[in-house]
Amino acid sequence: MPHATASAEASTIELGERVTLEKTMTVLLVGVGGQGTILAGNILAMCASEAGLDVKVSEIHGMSQRGGSVSTIIRMGQHVDSMICDPGTADVLVAFEAIEALRNQQFLREGGRLFVNDEVVTPVPVNIGNATMPEGVDGRLDALGAVRMNAGAIAREAGSPRSTNVVLVGALSTALPFAVDEWEDAIRRRVPPKTVDANLKAFALGREAALA
């Protein structure tokens, strides 16, 4: 997937309803290259910055994007120092793929929220017989307190199979202090115009699944 570059026009910040955070919050989005973690991060960053928060978004480009593990860190607060998410510091971890959730479990803080798309993308080393899949993935996710959902199926239900990432944004929105219409506004401005309705539906269904 080619690198994403925000256009200046789309990234201009229009202040909306202000939100105050007592402590800097850390959200970690993890997945497989090409799953749309970058767009999801952009939507959250827009929401947070339009709520008047300081925001830092860090992501890895380059070789890891060729189907490898990827992650985006979003930190937000009144003043954010580091852009890093260290082990035990993520307030919310959103995994776009089940194995990647386990790979990043150490980043979640005690009492942090974990949302997981429990679909599995088989890594190439497993396909070619050089590695095996772990046992009992769902049970391990449950033990971590994960809110599991089949985000792909939910996206298809919304009429937009490519909106798996926005389904997960919907789930994420239930753990953050931004109003639903602020999220919807950020989605409208970040997704291709023709896909707005399907993405808003994906967002709503993702919220529903997380709250169920």
């Binding site: 960053a45 830092k56 860090s58 060729r66 580091s82 150490q106 005690e110």
Partner: protein, 601 residues
């Protein structure tokens, strides 16, 4: 102008534009690439990709000497390529401002090493600016041009991946400085670096160093922040944020100007705190220089900081004996998920065949470096851009093919060939070298995000206007006042250099690949170049429905081509993931029993 969330690279482009930059040059390289791709969007700046970093800097030196403010961008290892002109322009100085962006990659996320480019600034004695977030990246880019003209020197703007690819808040002025073209007049004693004149310019550099030292002591680019007087930390770049996070009470000397270092400011800071520490990544750049000033540096009380790789707040906390939060143990039983060739990647079948013939492959830098990992494991070396072809010649000189019974094959991509493979090939031909060289021409610079290059002939202006690299040169749309890019004729070039045999082969045709490699590696008395041509699937997005597998014999041949869309069902038969498959036909060709086939359309 409204606040924006910009990456370091976007912010540098904005700052350079506001500084009145007129020319931007560079060679794509993570994490520097997006800087020029953002700068080129401004219609009043001319930007181009050069074939390599040396050429980019030389074009930049010419344009700055000619009177236009110029930005030159590259990754850290690109500075090695540009080091020759770099060391000379440090002495000639500039006319209009010249800023070189050097983007380092601690932890080697997308690089072959993690060298610290600031050592080059110190080596050449030119100012080095080190931003710690996008706001500073924007401001420092503007100030770099002012410094360049004030001190008649090229300026290095240094960033790491964490600055380049982190988006933080920026409040740009949004207005472009009126920086008219500066007059040009011949000044051979300044610009002709023959021995007699060079000696004089080195003296000018000495005087400039003294003036810069004086500036460094007073510059607002450096900042002392007194907090707890027991602990003082000297730090720059992204690490400043990590120190603030990890040791919020520590006093800091934050260096924005990392060459020259200000001895008095550093001594005064050291004297004002009980113990002074340095937090730095990848090499002992600060520690060596500061120790030489006679300042006694302390080692962190609990344990030393990591000697290589990125340093995170938790590393700093651990070194200073601070408590770390509890967390789940990392899972140890997970399959790795390394990067892999995309479904339909035109490099795949070439590596399958190189694996089959057990060649010694001298490799090169690009996506195709992944031929080194499973299931191909068929690349023996990757050193630097262009090394594949010259190293194959060296292997031949050492008699490696005869002694191992394995043919030596050099493998290089199209952009890397243009970057520095042409001279490697020339050296082999000139000296009567024999062997097999493969150019994997996928029509783009894929690894860094499908940039234009001299082989596909797509200029940066055309790339920014989203012209396809697959378009016929004659059918390109006219780009305002810019000339259309000219593609390189690889066959004609190789023949002109004097290669005995040049063949173009479809990189998606396994039988043709097998025949061409067999022919080239079977005769030892000539030099063959095979150009494997087929577009990168990030450029050619065409797809068709997945083929069907019937009566699978479970032999695993298709699995071993390493396609992400191919896996095994529980009964051991091969199965295709239709959401990942693009219908490229590679697995169809790999099945020895003809069990995989497309349905009739």
């Amino acid at each position: 102008m409204a606040r924006q969330l910009l990456s370091g690279n976007e912010a540098i482009a904005q700052g350079a534009w506001e500084a009145g930059v007129r020319v931007g040059t560079g060679y794509p390289g993570t994490p520097s690439t997006e800087t020029l791709e953002n700068l080129v969007r401004h219609k009043d700046v001319y930007c181009e990709w050069s074939p390599n970093e040396k050429v980019a800097l030389e074009v930049g030196i010419g344009s700055a000497m000619g009177g236009a403010r110029t930005l030159v961008t590259m990754k850290h290892v690109g500075v090695n390529v540009a080091a020759d002109p770099f060391m000379s322009v440090a002495n000639t100085g500039v006319n209009a401002g010249l800023v070189l962006l050097a983007a380092d990659d601690p932890s080697c996320y997308s690089s072959q090493n993690e060298q610290d480019s600031r050592t080059y600034a110190a080596f050449a004695r030119i100012p080095c600016l080190d931003p710690s977030d996008s706001q500073e990246a924007y401001e420092f880019a503007r100030q770099a041009f002012a410094l360049s003209e004030r001190f008649d020197t090229p300026v290095m703007l240094h960033e790491t991946m964490r600055i380049a690819h982190t988006r933080t808040m920026v409040e740009p002025a949004g207005t472009r400085e009126d920086a008219p073209l500066r007059d040009y007049a011949s000044q051979p004693q300044k610009y002709v670096m023959m021995p007699a004149f060079a000696v004089g310019r080195i003296r000018a550099t000495n005087a400039r160093e003294d003036a810069l030292l004086d500036y460094a002591e007073k510059s607002e680019l450096n900042r002392v922040e007194m907090r707890d007087p027991k602990v003082g930390v000297i730090v720059a770049g992204a690490l400043y944020n990590h120190v603030r996070e990890a040791l919020p009470n520590a006093s800091t000397l934050k260096l924005g100007l990392t060459w020259p270092l200000p001895p008095k400011l550093i001594r005064d800071f050291a004297a004002s705190v009980e113990r002074v520490y340095v937090v730095e990544e990848t090499c002992r750049y600060f520690r060596t220089a500061i120790a030489a000033m006679g300042v006694e540096l302390s080692e962190p009380p609990a344990k030393p900081l990591p000697r290589s790789g990125e340093i995170f707040p938790s590393d700093i906390q651990a070194s200073f004996g601070e408590a770390l939060p509890g967390h789940a143990a990392p899972a140890k039983d997970l399959p790795p998920r390394p990067p892999a060739f995309c479904a339909g990647c035109p490099h795949r079948l070439v590596y399958c065949e190189l694996r089959r013939i057990h060649a010694i492959v001298t490799g090169d830098i690009g996506c195709y470096t992944l031929g080194a990992v499973a299931p191909y494991k068929s690349v023996d070396s990757v050193i630097d851009m262009g090394a594949s072809l010259s190293m194959a010649h060296g292997m031949e000189l050492a008699g490696a093919p005869e002694r191992t019974g394995r043919p030596v094959v050099g493998v290089i991509g199209d952009s890397t060939f243009a970057h520095s493979g042409i001279t490697s090939l020339l050296g082999t031909v000139y000296n009567g070298g024999k062997g097999t060289l493969c150019i994997l021409d996928n029509r783009t610079t894929a690894m860094t995000g499908t940039q234009g290059n001299p082989v596909n002939g797509l200029t940066l202006t055309e790339q920014a206007a989203r012209v396809s690299p697959l378009i016929d040169a004659a059918e390109k749309p006219s780009m305002l006042d810019r000339p259309a890019g000219k593609p390189l004729d690889l066959v004609a070039l190789c023949k002109a250099i004097g290669v005995d045999e040049v063949e173009v082969v479809d990189a998606q045709d396994l039988k043709a690949i097998r025949r061409a490699l067999k022919a080239a590696t079977s005769h030892t008395d000539m030099l063959s170049v095979i150009i494997f041509k087929s577009p990168c699937r990030l450029v050619d997005r065409s797809t068709r429905p997945a083929p069907k597998i019937t009566d699978c014999r479970k032999c695993g041949s298709c699995i071993q081509i390493g396609c992400p869309a191919l896996g095994k069902a529980e009964d051991g038969t091969a199965q295709i993931d239709p959401t990942q498959c693009i219908g490229c036909n590679q697995c169809v060709q790999s099945c020895p029993f003809g069990c995989i086939a497309f349905e009739e359309e």
